[in-house]
Structure formats: C-alpha cells, structure tokens
Amino acid sequence: METMRPHRTTTLAAKIIRILVIALTVGLGIAALMFGLVLTSSRQEVTRESLNQEAAMLQTAIENFMLPGEAPIAVQFFREIEGANPKVRISLFRRNGEIAFSDNRTIQEVNANIRREKFAPRSSPALEMQMPADSVHFPKAVSMPPQDVFFRQEDDAAVYIKIYRPLINLPRCTACHGSDHTIRGVIGVQFDVSSFVRSENLALASGGAGFLVLTIILAAALGSIMNRGVAAPVAAIGKVCERVAQGDFGGVVSVRGNDEIARLGRQVNDMVRGLRERSELTKYVSAGTLGAIQDSQEPKRVRKTLLFTDVRGFTSYTGSHDPERVVGILNKLLEEQSRIIHEHQGDVDKFVGDEVVAVFSGEDSPARACSAALAIMAAARKGGEAYDGLALGAGIACGEVIQGMIGSARRADFTVIGASVNIAARLCGLAKPGQILVARDARDAAGTPPGFSFRGPFKTALKGVEGPSVIYLLEPEGDAS
C-alpha cells in the first residue's frame, strides 16, 4: 500500500524563482569571487615586484656606498627615499638581527681588519627608530642559501608588505669585513599597503553589493518573464483540468504563440472539447453505442438483462394536455428513470416515446435490473402530482441476445435484439400501472436479494412466444409479505 507523505506545496513560479536565484547566485558568485581573487592577486603581484625592484636598487646603492666606507651617505639615502615616499620604510640589519649602525662595533671590526683607524667611532647611532627584525621571517633570509623573504604584516592601524633581502659578503667586501661570514646583513623594505587594501576591500564590497542587486534584479526580471511565459499558462491549463475533473467541460485555455506550452494548451482544449461532445452525446446515445463507436465492436451474442418501462395511459394523456406540459412531464419521468438506471450500472439503450429500454450487463445484472425497476416505481409513486399522477409498467427478462449496430448507414444504434428483448417488451406491455413483471429466467438469476420479493409463478401467453410463459410479479419486500 502506497504511503502518502504530506509535503509542502510549491508553485511552479516559486520553483522557477528558486532555480533562477540559485543559478544566478552560483554563477554570479563565482564570477565575483574570481574578480576578487584576480584583483587581489594582481595587486599583490604588483606590490611584490615593486618591492623587489626597490630592494634591488637599495642593495646596489648600499654596496656602492659602503665600498668607500660612506655609511652616512647610505643612511641619508634611505631617509630621503622614505621622505619622498611616506609609505616606504627602510631598515638595515646585521646578520644577527641587530639594527645596523646602532653602535660602533662594525667600525671597530673594519678598523681591525684593515689594521688602521680609518673610521672614527660615532657618538650617536646613524640609524634610529628602526623596527626590530621579525623573529619568524628574518632567520629565513639569513639561512643558507640566503634568499629574499616576502611577507605580510598587519597591526590595528595598517597592513604592510615586507621584504627581507640578504646582503652577501662579496669578495670585494672581505678586505674590510673579513671572509669568515657569508651574509653581511639584511635590507628590510616595508611598504604600507593599507590604502590599497582599503580600496580593494571597497571594490570587493561594491562588487558584492552589485552582485547582490544584480542577482535580485535579474531574478525578478527573469522570474517575471518565466512566470508570464511558463508558470501562468501552465496554471491556466491546470485550472481547466481541475474543472474537467469536477465534471465541468466549459473551460477553455487561452492560447497565444506556438511554443510547447501553447501546443499543450491547444491539445487540452481539443481534449476538453472531445469530452464535452462525448458528454453531450451521452444524452442522446446510449453508452453501449458510444463504446461501439470507439471500439468498432463486431456483432456478437451476449447475455444481457433487459428492462422495459412505459407510461400507462400515456396516449390519452397526450390528447388531454398541452404539448409543452406533456413533453415536460415525460422528460422529467424519463430523466428520473435514466438517473436510477445509471445508478444501478445500467445503460439506457433508447427512449421510444414514453418507453425506456435499458440493458444491464454482468452476472448480477438481473438483480440490479429488478432493483432499478423497484426504484423507478417508487420514484413514480413518490412523484405523484409532479408527474400528473402518471404510473409506469415494467417488464424484465434476461438471456442471450445479439448485440451490434442495427440500422442504416445514415442512422444506426448499437442495440440488442433477440427473444429476451421481445419477452421483456411483452411483459412491459402486459404490466398494469405500478406492476413489474419478470420472466422466469430473470427471476431465477436474480435470486432473492434483500429488499424485494417475487409473487408467482403465473402463466401467461406472450405474443411471439410459443406456449405459455412463466412469469413473476416483482414487489418490494414489504408488499410481498
């Protein structure tokens, strides 16, 4: 047994909007992310290259300044560069991380190496206010082989990109500095990239906001287009189908264009038109005829139960009443009979004036035909004055009949013919007002279902039937007792 899980109903329009929002968010989000990454990467690359060139220039400068021992000129050079570009800070470290020129130790070592007091000790350090060496990155710069180290540093106020570039103790330096070490010191260049980072963040924030607005606008626009082009037409088709499910064939889908949905709308309209025509046709043609038209049934012998009813004294009634009233009363009677027959799974084969010919199929068709006849009689009695006191007679028979299209090429009915049809018609004609006469075969096949009983048997002669026929009078159970 299939378990029905309750689930939240989501409209097609909502689903379309959701898909659009997801697609746009993912697509534009990836584009925005890529934009941000490229922006950041290119800025970092430019900064790195700029720092690298600046460090190379400073290295060359300090090497050339130091060869003649012009440390003060080198220091002044650093300060002037810093003055020209406030974002740049230059540091010079000894290989052990101490700030260069902070004391006279190097001067003393150089004088010792050249064995004369060429350089006089200073009373104050040449370089002041330098930042200390970074304990993590500085050792990398002075490891073997020495290498440039780039890194990023942040504090509460700013973001910096830094480079540590080792100064090699070149052979031409060894005359003053000795040959017992490979690295003389390290140049540190710090570049304040705070403004770049702020611009970058602003660009990313603007891009993100733009992405968000664009997503919303595109989702709204595309959603509206999709709603008008897809969701609304599908909903209109759904409404027509809902009306069809409720038995209303009056709905029509308004179709525009020639796309798949328009074609679907036309097909639904065609389908509804067909259903409407079929529904209308069932008022005039029996269900068996309709089935035969659809299935192209060949003539065949089948077992059926036939129920005939007609109005007693109808001919004299028609002569004494207005045609409108006659037709109105008769149609009410026929309508009620038709309804009851259908309730009992019977098929109204035809109306012949005031006569109704109904066919019942299946093993229990005799019982259903009897039950239908009793219900018709009860309805006629109950209607009373509404039917101008008209009463009905009924006949029921069952047996093998020939079923097929009977008539001409222009007009034909899918109906039944045979002895049982004739017997049922004769019994109907024989029945007095309110009576239901049942042939023996039908009575035997019907058994004794609750709610009705049979009186009889009676013997009677029926026109067209050889010898006496055994018949029964069908009554509601209460009347039979």
Partner: protein, 184 residues
C-alpha cells in the same frame, strides 16, 4: 582427485588476474616520474684542475672547507685559445668544485658536496648563462640554486678580486675566479 582437479582451475582463474595487476603496475611505474638525469658527469676527477693546490683559506659561501676545482675539456679548449682577455665559455662547459668536510682532507677522502657550474644559457634556471647547482654526495641529490646567491658572489670574478691572480685587468671572466687559463 578433487584437489588435483580444483587447483589448476583456481590457478587458471588467479593467473590472469595476477598478470593483469602486474601489467597495470608496470604501466603505472612507466608513467611515473622518471629519475632525473644527472647534470654532473661522473668522470670529473679525470678533468684538469685550474689550481693544482687545495684551496682551504676562508671565503664567504664556502667557509674554511677545502676546495678542489676541475674544469672539463670544452672549457680548457676554449680558454686555451682565448688568451687573457674576455672569456665567454661555450655551452657544455662544466666546472666542478669539490667541497670537503674540513680544511685538511685526508688522502683518498671523498668530498661531501660538489658545487657545480654548467654552462647552459638556454636553461630557464640559468643565471649569467650558468646553471648553479649543488650535489650532495651522500644522497646523490642535485639541487639547482635558483636564487642569485651564487651568481652574486661569483660576479666579483668579472672585475678585480682578492683570489688567484686577482684579475688585475678587470676582464670579464664569465664568473670564474680560477679560469682554466694556463698560468693563472
């Protein structure tokens, strides 16, 4: 009899599987990274030395470790005809500098590393036309130095310097302090 019948059947089923696995492994191993070809010729000790003695005075970059320099035949051939002026060694020239563990290696002692210059101007890792690499003799691993450390030091050889003949004329000597010039 049952065993005799079933063992060949099992073997027949396993053998193709084993063969398949071995074939896949063989293909995978063939597709894996090949062992890089050594850039340092194994016969460097048969080359001529531009300096006959062991260099063990202290210098930046090599410290006080003993050093022995070799230059291969193309280098010698070129330098022999170039005279004492500008030197630009041909592609294929290889200079090997043995670095020993101490300043006084024992007879027969092997170097711990080789500092090698390979003339290869077209190589993307070349600096100044030379590939600068270090070979660790224990592991055999060769490391190309991609920083400017080696080149920066050796650039001093292209002007007057404190080593060998000191390059008194300041000639361009293609980064070699001890070029293979007879008499230097």
């Amino acid at each position: 009899m049952r065993t005799a019948r079933h063992v060949p059947a099992a073997a027949a089923a396993i053998l193709p599987a084993c063969a398949t696995i071995l074939a896949v492994l063989a293909v995978l191993s063939a597709c894996g990274p090949a062992t890089p070809k050594s850039r340092v010729p194994a016969d460097w000790t048969s080359w001529r030395k531009p300096v006959d003695r062991v260099l063990n005075y202290t210098i930046p970059g090599h410290g006080d470790k003993a050093r022995v320099i070799y230059v291969n035949a193309p280098g010698w051939e070129y330098a022999g005809g170039a005279g004492s002026g500008r030197l630009e060694f041909p592609e294929g020239t290889v200079v090997v500098k043995e670095i020993y563990a101490s300043g006084s290696p024992a007879p027969g002692e092997k170097p711990v590393t080789l500092d090698v210059m390979v003339k290869a101007p077209g190589d993307p890792d070349a600096r100044g036309g030379w590939l600068w690499l270090v070979k660790d003799m224990a592991s055999g691993k060769e490391t190309v130095i991609t920083t400017n450390f080696c080149q920066a030091c050796h650039a001093n050889a292209n002007s007057s310097h404190p080593y060998g003949d000191r390059n008194p004329g300041g000639a361009f000597r293609d980064y070699l302090y001890f070029p293979p010039i007879p008499g230097t």
